[in-house]
């Protein structure tokens, strides 16, 4: 093949005077040679390989004079390539056009080569030379020069691969190419126009064009034709997916519309449905496709396939509302700063029109009267409150349903909830409960949960930070009111602050503990007047005056009769007898004393306590100090014990308190109980227990100093709530909001799981993430943003699935083959519709297309235009968006004695494009 070089006019022996053109060829050869070497090594030694789907691409830059080019090498890795040895043995290698490739199925995920040549010609290996300049190459002589030099280089390197040179403007994707082996040369040619000539609009004309171009000296066999008509559905009409969105409007405010977080997209994520109808390998003389008549009725096409185009630009409501909260984390203003003139911190607790809300005993009559005064913000000259009453009142009733007789949103009572937990309740899926077990948030649908949701909604839809601040302000007012009026806070698990829940939940539980103790105290004060207790001012903060209040001991008749104890030594504060034990010294029954309840603490308080303990150091002295600090409750218990058991000794106390430190003997004492002795560690002289016992005075629990000061603790909680900045509030509520978002996602996942099997996996990943966030304290933009992104991605996928199911299976009947079909569509792949127009899915497509068509026709006639006339007279489908014809024939060229070689023409016709993609071969040996 090297002899061919001689044909070139530009050939010179003297390399020192090599023309630019020779340098260019040499460089081309060098690159191609290097690629071949790399290829032989089998392993891809160069890291220069770019992967695009199934394709490997190599590229090198080179210059011709001062114009820059890039040489690309494309290779389809899914096709087994003939090795070099094979080449030698068989001599005859397969022509690259000898395939029956017609139309590639579209796939978003793979196969997508940017360069369209592979798709157009069905090539598996080729080289292109692309210019880098934006101007393109238009001059014919330049084009020729480039093509021939490239061809030369290829021949010199013995490389039988089609090679293409890009011409014209880049966007046109126009190439000229050449392929040559021992027998055949193929010229690849392309024509790209905005609009083709009239006679080339239909297949019949195009077949003629093809035949003319081939100019075979003998008559041609039938031309094999494949046809593909593509239809776009953009207007979905009633099949447009819309999330059930409630218009939040202040006039007709409907609470139901906001008591769950919003979900979904604002616009249908499916923007385009593409249907391709295909006919394959028909002989040209049996078909007609002209301006007036066409055999290609899409309804009759033997193959249907479709794919969808989806937008990822939609706004996802759920993730968006969380991101509103995240953004607010940067807002360091206090609630009072934001509300400004509406409220001054000085007088905000003076008047409390929320009375109404929390005093259910008020007659409904006055409820109506007082309604106008509901808003806690003074209605002065200061303008309109951020949340109007029409909005605020229903929200407050949602948060505090106990204030309303006909509460539409009651909290499930603790009892119900507990039962539900045991029997895996039906309304909350148990799988979710176990998945979310690690969340440090709060119970689903509890008060903190509802506040979080309302906070999200006020931020997002009801007025932004101002409205959110107003909500919080009202909430804190209500908390204060409840404390002052001793009304329990609803929607919280009973008991002490639960360290497994979030801080807000703990704080509210703490407040409830305070309210409970206050109520107990007050009810005692009113029922059994007690001189001592009446002097106690509940609001006084002087510790010394306060006594712990446990139920006053009901005088034990038996004891009363006994005169054994002198007046000052009467037993007080007995809870009940402890088994059958008798006091060692006196033989009286050993009584368990009434003791002070232990002190509820929230985690921040515990942390403070722990810090104090830690600061004492880990040496013996520190231990001793710690023991002293921890011994308040021990001392209190000893004093209660002494009060309940006059004449008791340490041994008696230990038998109740730490029975393992009392070692019994078999011998009986004078009271008929087993004798025993203290453990050795209790006998250590002057140990802390002995010391404390000696210092303990007999004082019943209700006269001891309170270990827990509910008034002070309640004030602490209220101050905590009241002093939160918007940033701190958002921070506290973000985890709960995320938890609520996950529950929402779960519900939605369940609906589409049949077509989106990965949904639960993604959800689980999000759950793990939220768990970490909920346990990590302060949320930051990066981590929160990351979470929101993950939620948005899942939300979008679910919405896409919703949309597709709605379109293809609106009745949600159990059409079994629909789910796998939708699942594949979701992946962005083109899928064949089995049964074409006769199938269920085909029927749905026809319905949607004809509806869109009806609508389009209506608009057309209204505007006085002509109804689009289709040659098949079909009114179901619009004019095809694109028509593609592929023609093939083996022809004897150029002479009658030449061998047969493949001829090829693909035409792509659409509204704005007319493209002919041809390849014409001829015999280079016998011509």
């Amino acid at each position: 093949m090297n002899e061919e070089i001689d044909e070139s006019d530009f050939y010179h022996q003297d390399f020192t005077t090599a023309s630019e053109w020779e340098v260019f060829i040499a460089r081309l050869e060098e690159i191609v040679h290097q690629w071949k070497v790399d290829d032989l090594k089998e392993e891809d030694a160069t890291n220069l390989i770019i992967k695009q789907g199934l394709w490997n691409i190599k590229q090198e830059k080179l210059q011709f004079v001062d114009v820059e080019f890039t040489l690309f090498y494309y290779k389809n890795t899914s096709v087994q390539h003939k090795s070099v040895e094979d080449d030698d043995d068989t001599k005859k290698c397969k022509h690259p056009l000898e395939n029956l490739h017609d139309f590639v199925m579209y796939s978003e995920s793979h196969n997508n080569l940017e360069c369209p040549l592979a798709e157009w010609y069905g090539l598996n290996e080729f080289i292109t030379l692309n210019f880098s300049s934006p101007n393109g190459i238009h001059v014919e002589s330049q084009i020729k020069l480039l093509l021939s030099s490239t061809q030369l280089a290829i021949n010199n390197t013995n490389c039988t691969i089609p090679i293409f040179v890009q011409i014209r403007d880049k966007w046109q994707n126009c190439y000229l190419g050449v392929y040559e082996d021992e027998q055949i040369r193929t010229n690849f040619e392309m024509i790209h126009l905005r609009k083709g000539p009239q006679h080339c609009q239909y297949l019949t004309g195009l077949v003629d064009l093809f035949k003319t171009k081939i100019m075979s000296p003998v008559s041609l066999p039938p031309i094999t034709v494949s046809v593909q008509l593509t239809f776009h559905l953009i207007e979905f009409g009633i099949s447009t997916w819309k999330q059930d969105l409630h218009d939040i409007d202040r006039e007709n405010f409907d609470l139901e519309s906001i008591c769950a977080l919003p979900f979904g997209v604002t616009h249908d994520p499916v923007t385009n449905l593409i249907l391709k109808t295909t006919w394959s390998h028909l002989p040209d003389h049996l078909i007609v496709d002209s301006e007036n008549y066409s055999d290609f009725d899409p309804m009759q096409a033997p193959k249907w396939s479709c794919y969808v185009v989806m937008t990822d630009q939609s706004l996802c409501l759920l993730s968006e509302s969380l991101s509103d909260v995240l953004n607010t984390v940067n807002n360091n203003s206090s609630v009072y700063d934001i509300l400004g003139d509406f409220v001054s911190s000085a007088d905000h607790n003076l008047d409390n029109p929320l009375d109404l809300l929390t005093e259910p005993k008020l007659p409904t009559f006055s409820t109506v009267l007082k309604r106008a005064a509901r808003n806690s913000l003074p209605k002065s000259s200061k303008g309109v409150a951020p949340l109007s009453e029409e909005v605020l009142v229903p929200i407050l009733y949602f948060l505090f349903p106990d204030a309303d007789d006909e509460n539409a949103f009651p909290y499930s009572s603790n009892k119900e909830k507990d039962n539900g937990d045991n029997m895996s309740s039906s309304h909350t899926p148990s799988m979710m409960e176990t998945e979310c077990k690690g969340f440090k948030t709060c119970k689903e649908n509890s008060l903190p949960w509802r506040i979080a949701i309302m906070f999200v909604q006020t931020l997002g839809m009801l007025g932004g930070p101002k409205a959110a601040a107003h909500l919080w302000f009202e909430f804190v007012q209500e908390m204060r009111f409840r404390w002052e009026k001793s009304i329990p806070i609803p929607g919280l698990p009973s008991g002490y602050p639960d360290p497994r829940t979030c801080l807000l939940n703990q704080k509210l539980q703490m407040l409830n503990c305070c309210i409970e103790r206050k109520r107990a105290r007050e009810s005692r004060e009113t029922s059994t007047p007690n001189v001592e207790n009446q002097t106690v001012d509940p609001n006084s903060s002087t510790d010394d005056e306060e006594f712990y209040d446990c139920s006053p001991d009901k005088p034990d008749e038996e004891d009363k009769k006994r005169a054994r104890h002198s007046l000052w030594n009467q037993p007080v504060g007995r809870l009940g007898k402890f088994e059958n034990l008798k006091l060692i010294k006196t033989g009286d029954p050993l009584y368990i004393p009434i003791t002070q309840d232990c002190v509820p603490k929230t985690e921040d308080q515990l942390e403070e306590d722990t810090d104090v303990l830690l600061q004492l150091g880990s040496d013996a002295q520190g231990s001793e100090l710690r023991a002293k600090m921890m011994s308040a409750s021990l001392l209190s218990d000893m004093e209660s014990f002494k009060a309940a058991n006059p004449g008791s000794i340490l041994e008696d106390f230990i038998r109740w308190y730490s029975p393992r430190d009392w070692i019994e003997e078999s011998e009986l004492d004078e009271w008929g109980q087993k004798k025993g002795y203290l453990s050795s560690r209790m006998l250590i002289s002057d140990n802390a227990w002995i010391q404390m016992w000696e210092s303990a005075k007999p004082v019943p629990a209700n006269r001891q100093k309170r270990l827990f000061d509910d008034t002070r603790e309640a004030e602490k909680v209220l101050h905590f709530l009241d002093s939160r900045t918007l940033s701190q509030i958002s921070d506290m509520l973000f985890s709960i909001g995320s938890h609520a978002a996950i529950c929402r996602l779960y519900e939605e996942c369940e609906q589409v799981s049949s077509v989106l099997p990965t949904a639960f996996k993604s959800l689980q990943r999000i759950i793990k993430y939220v768990e970490k966030i909920s346990r990590n304290g302060k949320i930051c933009d990066r981590i929160g943003g990351n979470l929101i992104q993950q939620i948005a991605a899942l939300e979008l996928c679910i919405s896409q699935a919703h949309s597709l199911l709605y379109k293809l299976n609106p009745s949600r009947g159990c059409e079994q083959n629909i789910d796998p079909f939708v699942e594949k569509l979701m992946n962005g792949d083109e899928i064949e519709i089995e049964g074409t127009s006769k199938s269920y899915i085909g029927g749905r497509l026809i319905t949607m297309f004809s509806e869109a068509q009806k609508l389009a026709n209506m608009i057309m006639t209204e505007h006085g235009g002509l109804v689009d006339h289709h040659p098949t007279g079909n009114i179901t489908f619009p004019h095809p968006h694109q028509r593609e014809f592929v023609m093939r024939v083996s022809a004897v060229r150029p002479a009658t004695y030449s061998i047969k070689s493949p001829q090829f023409l693909r035409t792509i016709l659409s509204k704005n494009e007319f493209r002919l993609v041809g390849a014409f071969s001829e015999d280079v040996v016998f011509f």
Partner: protein, 205 residues
């Protein structure tokens, strides 16, 4: 000086009163045995540094009183603990029977999801044994915890008990790794073991 500390771990010691919790702690932290150890009031703690696989961790070990009366108080200190040592006295069957209660207490109050548990059978130096090794091991297997027999008095098993517990915690980064920039520690270049989330295997010491 704290630069080389990988992390600080919080470890609890719980179990019935008198099983030797404080003695085990004293043995581990000070390598000492004090027969005159007083009965713990409320909670106490000691700290110790421990080198594990080339990493130094700081341990804050919280010792608790085992009496019923203190039970309402101590769970508040369970917060954020990464590991728990549950102790019973091999010479006192009832302390072994009570383990079930202690485990559920832990389940209720620990805030970390996969807190690592180690059951220590103490006082194996004594002759009047009531709980066999097999029984202890069986229990540990059933509850998917670590298990070791030890004696605070003779030193047997004490060091290993703490080391194995810490090692297991370190292998579960979920438990101790902080979450956020700058605080993501990794152990050298070692990959975290794949089974890092499974806290259950029975170590037969």
């Amino acid at each position: 000086m704290d630069d080389d500390i990988l992390t600080t771990l919080k470890i609890l010691i719980i179990g019935e009163s008198g099983v030797g919790k404080s003695s085990l702690l004293l043995r581990f932290t000070e390598d000492n045995f004090d027969p005159e150890q007083t009965l713990t009031i409320g909670v106490d703690f000691k700290t110790k540094r421990l080198a594990i696989e080339g990493n130094t961790v700081k341990l804050a070990i919280w010792d608790t009183a085992g009496q019923e009366r203190f039970r309402t108080l101590t769970p508040s200190y369970y917060r954020d603990a990464q590991g728990a040592i549950l102790v019973y006295d091999v010479c006192n069957y009832s302390t072994f029977s009570k383990l079930e209660t202690w485990l559920s207490e832990l389940e209720t109050y620990s805030t970390k999801r996969n807190i690592i548990k180690m059951i220590v059978a103490n006082k194996i130096d004594m002759d009047n044994r009531e709980v066999s090794r097999e029984e202890g091991m069986h229990f540990a297997k059933k509850h998917k915890t670590l298990f070791i027999e030890a004696s605070a008095k003779t030193k047997d098993g004490v060091q290993s008990a703490f080391e194995e517990l810490v090692q297991k915690i370190i292998q579960t980064p979920d438990l101790w790794e902080n979450y956020g920039p700058g605080s993501n520690f990794h152990l050298g270049n070692k990959e975290h073991p794949a089974q890092s989330n499974c806290s259950g295997y029975c170590n037969l010491a």
